[in-house]
């Protein structure tokens, strides 16, 4: 299944898999899509998987007393099994389909937190977390009179390991941390965090939204308790996400959403919960997106992690090199070799929003804003940054177009 069908591929060959990359923008420019950390484009195989589901065997799942139902259930459960292997989980029942990373983390904050957090307990997050891995914890610690604590970052944008040591303790019940910062590009040391968690008996949740398309994911080494990601950032359809949870924990937790499918028996005043994974999958699942996610995972595995890494680090290094040559441009976070394919930056006297609009005139899609990391931007003492983020289909030429577009923007803004 994961046999390398493309032993060698380049951005040029891979681009043909993504129909949108061949289209022209409304302004007639070719698209230079460098907003991959927000969401990635979809290869034809994924688009077709969704279409085929609707055109040939669509019906509701888990009710297969008819042939379509059997087929669609087989496809959905096949996708679950692929995801299980992809994240290295022991059992398919540990894979919960959700609507996205945000929903996955909310599920844990509520289903685990409401049951297992008590007054005075501490939840440890980092200063670089996405709002999705902050706000749900803020809410549940408030409800429980527990406390949210932040692992600070160093000047280079890495987790401060010494501070980590002093933050963990017997009150630490949960460490919730991103595998890769969506702003700094920092790749966090999950091994160290996993050890920290076991040293104090805390649970470890990793938000793998940013890393999942760029490096291997494994929930057993180092061992994590929960792992969340979204399909739309790994070349999959929109509307589907995943929560991995260790069986014992999922079994001990309360359900989050309630309704059909997640129950065993419903009586007038009480209900009993179904088995895993149904217990956490209330209502009709996003069936076609879930099936399409399985195809996306096949696609990524066929590319191969080493190849993906090589292509993306080449892009990131080039971007580092050409961007740092631009006067007044400052990159935040660690050096090119120690980060994912994300580069956030500011340009003196050029507001990120103006910059993004100006490079868009050249067909270059980047992002500007706080990227759902306001506390991080407070630490950086910045209101907003511009961000370019790369995927397997980006080319070195596109990196150069970005740099030229930024130079052009500076000229338009009378900065050179």
């Amino acid at each position: 299944m994961t046999a390398t069908l493309r032993p060698t591929w380049t951005a040029e060959t891979i681009r043909r898999d993504f129909p949108i990359l061949e289209k022209r923008l409304p302004n007639g420019q070719p698209l230079v899509y460098l907003d991959n950390a927000a969401t990635s484009q979809k290869p034809q195989v994924v688009i077709n998987a969704v279409r085929d589901c609707y055109e040939t065997y669509y019906s509701n799942v888990h009710r297969g007393v008819h042939q379509l139902g059997d087929r669609v259930t087989e496809e959905l459960e096949g996708s679950r099994a692929k995801i299980q292997k992809f994240v290295g989980a022991n059992e398919p029942e540990e894979i919960i389909f959700t609507s996205g990373t945000t929903m996955s983390i909310n599920l844990v904050a509520n289903g685990w937190g409401r049951r297992f957090l008590s007054e005075g307990d501490e939840v440890l997050v980092t200063e670089m977390e996405h709002h999705a891995n902050l706000v749900p914890w803020q809410q549940i610690v408030r409800e429980k009179n527990a406390r949210l604590r932040y692992i600070p970052i160093t000047a280079e944008g890495r987790l401060d390991k010494e501070q980590l040591e002093s933050l963990i303790g017997p009150r630490t019940k949960m460490i919730a941390v991103t595998t890769m910062s969506n702003v700094l590009g920092t790749i966090n040391d999950i091994h160290a965090l996993s050890e920290a968690a076991s040293s104090c008996g805390a649970r470890l949740l990793v938000d793998a939204a940013q890393s999942v398309a760029h490096m291997p994911t494994n929930v057993l080494s180092p061992r994590v308790d929960f792992l969340a990601f979204s399909g739309h950032k790994i070349y999959g359809p929109s509307g589907i996400g995943v929560l991995y949870g260790r069986r014992e924990l999922l079994e001990a937790m309360d359900p989050f959403l309630c309704g059909g499918n997640m129950i065993s028996e419903v009586h007038r005043d009480e209900s009993t919960w179904g088995e895993l994974p149904a217990k956490f999958e209330a209502g009709t699942l996003p069936i076609a997106p879930a099936i399409g996610l399985g195809t996306a995972i096949d696609y990524v595995q066929q590319l191969g992690w080493q190849e993906i890494h090589d292509v993306e680090t080449t892009l990131t290094r080039r971007a580092w090199d050409v961007l740092t040559e631009i006067p007044g441009l400052h990159i935040v976070g660690p050096p090119a070799d120690e980060r994912g394919s994300i580069i956030s930056f500011t340009v003196d006297r050029l507001h990120p929003h103006d910059l993004a609009t100006l490079v868009d005139q050249k067909g270059v899609a980047i992002r500007a804003g706080h990227h759902c990391t306001m506390p991080l931007h407070d630490v950086l003492q910045m209101i907003a940054t511009a961000r370019a983020s790369f995927a397997v289909y980006n080319t070195l030429e596109e990196v150069d177009i970005l740099a030229d577009a930024i130079r052009h923007a500076r000229k338009v803004m009378r900065l050179s």
Partner: protein, 151 residues
Amino acid sequence: MSTQLDDLYNDHILDHFECPYHKGAIDHPSCSRTEKNPLCGDVVTLQLQINPEGKVENAYFDGKGCAISQAAASILCEHVEGKSVDELEKFQARDMLDLLKVPLTASRQKCGLLGFRLLKTLIYEQHPEENEHSVSPSDTLNTPVSNTDNE
């Protein structure tokens, strides 16, 4: 994918459904257990009489539900009598499905395996100490599809 369903309700199944083997209750069973498939409401009770040598002398079932679940329970009772607990420990879901002699789609396997699940739990409980470090029955009993209800 495609399964020829026409053979599903053949004489073998329907005969067992209409004239089940050992449907009823044993007065003093060695062990007994009831399980329900909440999805379709199938209920099966399985009772075993195991002699001191560890042989199943008598197997009775009771219950109600679809033809598949009831016929399968009947076929199961017929099969286990005379077998030893050790033999039955090796009896797998696949073997049970083979005994039915009809192709069951994933969605109907839960019906066909309801009695079998009971058997495995009862057998497992015969040697709880021995089995302590081995897999629990719930691990081995997962049918391919988690056949929960939704619409």
